[in-house]
């Protein structure tokens, strides 16, 4: 689905490279997680894919097409995004989700746009929220509305930048389950960044460990080892297995 090859990015002409030749593949229905310290280049990578900034070198192919040559509107029909901290403006939940249809309707929503929103709301059990002011909802509910808005774009790939960063455990679980459901049921590729390694192990299929603008290691859960985590985060962790599931414990220090 998405193939990133030798992607490089620097903010100014002679500034150091923030992304130093990223290679990445993700298929439909897969959930890929980008893991790394703050400043490793995760958000910069996402911004490049979203077209918010232009790569200094490299290619991003999406279903065989050069993503960098697509207009914002065409790209929005393929890739949707959910930032870490969400602000919507004081709109109703229904209108907030309908906003996700902008790339499809142009200037004013038509019948098919309203039908799409109604389907998504039904699917995600959001009907009772329709007329509520989205700014008055809880953090988890707002995050769920952001997922609904992203789905309204009818995308083939979702990019979530630390979606559970500001949430309590219950809401974290809500978002994790919603993300999994979306990927599996709708066969949508999800690229996500998370700080919680255990959450990443629980949710994701592919792991990309990033450090200083490079991918240190990538693969399935098997590559999640104490060595690679310690190297990525300059940390000291231990991995134990409980009921067949990996559990990362931070021992502190180096």
């Amino acid at each position: 689905m998405i193939e990133i090859r030798d992607l490089q990015f620097r903010y100014r002409k002679h500034a150091p490279l923030v992304l130093q030749g990223i290679n990445m593949d993700l298929k439909a229905g897969e959930i890929g997680v980008v893991l790394g310290k703050n400043g490793a280049g995760k958000s910069t990578l996402f911004k490049n894919i979203l077209g918010a900034i232009k790569p200094s070198a490299g290619t991003i192919m999406f279903e065989g097409n050069d993503l960098l040559k697509l207009s914002n509107r065409e790209r929005a029909k393929k890739i949707a995004y959910m930032p870490q901290s969400i602000s919507f403006g004081e709109l109703s939940v229904y209108d907030t989700i309908l906003m996700g249809r902008i790339a499809h309707f142009g200037f004013n929503a038509g019948k098919e746009d309203h039908a799409a929103v109604e389907n998504i709301m039904k699917d995600m059990h959001l009907e009772d929220f329709a007329s509520r002011n989205v700014e008055e909802l809880s953090g988890g509910e707002r995050q769920k509305i952001a997922i609904a808005r992203a789905l309204a774009q009818d995308p083939k790939m979702l990019i979530f930048d630390e979606p559970t960063g500001n949430l309590d455990i219950a809401n974290e679980q809500l978002i994790v389950e919603e993300t999994r459901r979306v990927a599996r049921e709708k066969n949508i590729a999800v690229l996500i960044s998370l700080h919680d390694l255990n959450q990443a192990i629980d949710l994701c299929d592919r792991f990309f460990f990033m450090k200083e603008g490079r991918i240190l290691a990538e693969g399935t859960e098997e590559i999640v080892t104490e060595e690679i985590i310690n190297e990525t985060y300059d940390a000291h962790v231990r991995i134990v297995e409980i009921e067949g599931k990996k559990l990362v414990i931070n021992l502190g220090g180096k």
Binding site: L50, S71, N72, L91, M99, I159
Partner: protein
Amino acid sequence: MSIGDAFAALAHKGTAAQNRIIWNIRIPRVLAAIIAGAGLSISGLIMQTNLNNPMASPSTLGVSNAAVFGANLSIIAFSGGFLDTGHNVASYGVGANPFATSLMAFIFATLSILVILGLCRVRSFHPGVVVLAGIAIGAVWTAATTILQFYATDVGISAAVIWNFGDLGRATYQTDLIMAVTVLIGAIYFMIMSWRFNALLSGDISAKSMGVDVNNLRFISMLLASLITAVCVSFLGIIGFVGIICPHIVKKLLGQDHRYAVPASILSGSILLLLADTFSRGIGSGSALPVGAITSLLGAPFFIAVIFSKKGRMQ
């Protein structure tokens, strides 16, 4: 003139003087209040959304400061005037082209807009950069005006200061038409783009990810909003606060959805300026007080009531 006389004059059934007062003075003035109020209010709304800044106003790009410099240059350096307000020094600028000052004001206001938007187009369209560039360029125009006024004669400086007071009495059918066309073009564009302005409320990256061409939207809408302001200020002088107060009242009462906020801002701006002008003529015992001061006097208490009310409480 009594209300009955006014209605008779509206139907061309008053005395010749009454008909002239209503049709040549009052109606152009009322139209100017409706059009300029709408234009300044809608420009303020669009600036606030574009710059994600509640303090943004129609003059954020230094438009008013530049217009003041242009007008001062015309009045002080070229003795040109647009001073048929009844307050001016009667002999000053006699024989000058009545549009000279407005034209100079508009030229400098447009120059200011183009310099800032041009710089931002080349370097960065980050809202913070635009606001700072506006403040910097505005300061340059203010400094230039101060230097100009330092060398002005007493008559020149008083004429220039009087120009700065917003005065709807300068409006004619011709100026109303020019303002109306500019405001209409802006209003149509802002209405068409209302969903995209809604998307901007989620931030630039989110808006782009939803398919909005953020840079183009910001460039065109700020250009239109600033041109509307430039035209209104050039013809009428500075009318402050309408562009800040009305969009805020609308957003507090109706929310931020631009499908409603754009028409509601148009309506509230027109109503506020019309009320302010009526009030300014009512309490001025024969001579109208500066309408810009009245908009603030009338609007500010209402504004404070709205922001502290339950419905509109600031978070």
